[in-house]
């Protein structure tokens, strides 16, 4: 995919204190307002913590049910490289 560097770059950004609250609230609103978003996934990179490695792969969560990032006990704290990604209806069709 073009501009893959941005994926890594975004994962490396320090998270705001309210990262999970704010991101999941936005997705919840997006689904409620019938946008093209249908759920949220957790993007887990290779250098994530043990707890993140335990997350099941390929799961699409509803915003209220998504694990909160950074995961409890993540040693990297706000530098946690896991990120939420919106899951779009068109992306699901393409897959």
């Amino acid at each position: 995919m073009p501009f893959d560097w941005l994926n890594d770059f975004h994962r490396g950004m320090e998270k705001a204190d309210n990262y999970a609250d704010k991101t999941l609230a936005a997705y919840k609103l997006g689904i409620k307002a019938r946008g093209a978003i249908c759920g949220v996934s957790v993007c887990v990179p290779a250098n994530c913590c043990g707890a993140a490695k335990q997350l099941p792969e390929g799961v699409v969560y509803q915003p209220d049910e998504a694990p909160r990032l950074p995961l409890a006990g993540c040693p990297l704290g706000r530098r946690c490289p896991c990120v939420y990604r919106p899951v779009m209806t068109y992306a699901e069709v393409q897959e």
Partner: protein
Amino acid sequence: MKSMLGVLARIPLFQLYRRFGWPRMLPINITLSPSPRCNSRCLTCNIWMKRENELTLDEWDKVLRSLGKAPYWFTVSGGEPFMYQGVVELCQMAYQYCRPGIINIPTNSILSTIPDKVRRIAESCPESRLIINLSLDGIGEKHDRIRGVPGNFKKFEERLKQLLELRDGLPNLTLGIHSVVSTFSVGHLDEIMEYADQSGVDQFITEIAEPRVELDTVGLPITPDKKSYTKAINKLIDHVNNRPYKGISKVTEAFRIQYYKLVKRILDEEKQVIPCYAGWASSHIYADGTVWPCCVRADQLGNLRDHNYDFGAIWFGEKIKEVRRSIAAKECHCPLANASYTNLLHDLPTLARVGTKVLLPVLGGRPTAPKAPAKEPEAAHV
């Protein structure tokens, strides 16, 4: 209008600033996003889901005052800029303190209040060129599907007609059609091009859909593949090349062709093809007062609320140094149009190509004769 010569005079200074950190300069190109709220539901953008603790007009007043006369080009972005209740006042403040040469506002054309707000901005900012770009991603239902709003195309046409009428009485108003070339629209770009040609607008511009942190589109499959984009954009380049532009339009269209070629190279080479001046000559102020070098990376350089609304305190601060190092080291690359046009202006080979294209027929070189009759466009602006 504020002179473009002042911008050209600052080019070598920005080149020095980027290379040696001196002389310290405020940006000439600033995007203001007063609110992420939007009444579109585009497939290529998720900003409309966001809610922010937005800067008030009083806070914007202090921010814009701190910029002084440095900015030449403001883009008022969103969300949908005309959903922001204070959009007229925001532009008036930018005009009062900064006297920009250009105020550029994209719009989805949905709100019926748009023409009145455009008129008020144009009338109260007479020495600035006001550019209103109406978004168009397809004709008829194709547009509605991509924008996620049934009936959007009908409203686009209503607003277009109203704004064209308005333009007749407002000499500083330029109208454009802006199209995002995405995986959803790349197949019908020629239809949009044909429509724009007949529409009566002053300019037709396109931008490739790229992932941005700002829009929460990182990792989404919205960017067309290199082959499809090249095929579509080559038609557009031919189209622009075959039109008989005159005066300033000739220069802006020459830059536009350079931008389209740059995008092709960036897609092909996947690197920063020419030096990026985001973080030096261009910047972005987000709704909550956060300053970014650009909306693609959206590095949080600082929040204006924490710096007494003084833009310079962030721009000349410590945190931006690492971001500038990263950009200069080409750790990023993107075809963001707003930054790219500023970058092209600072790239000497590009300036030489544009100069050659503009001057060659004048100096007796091969004329760029039109292959098909075309309406003479009015002065267009990048």
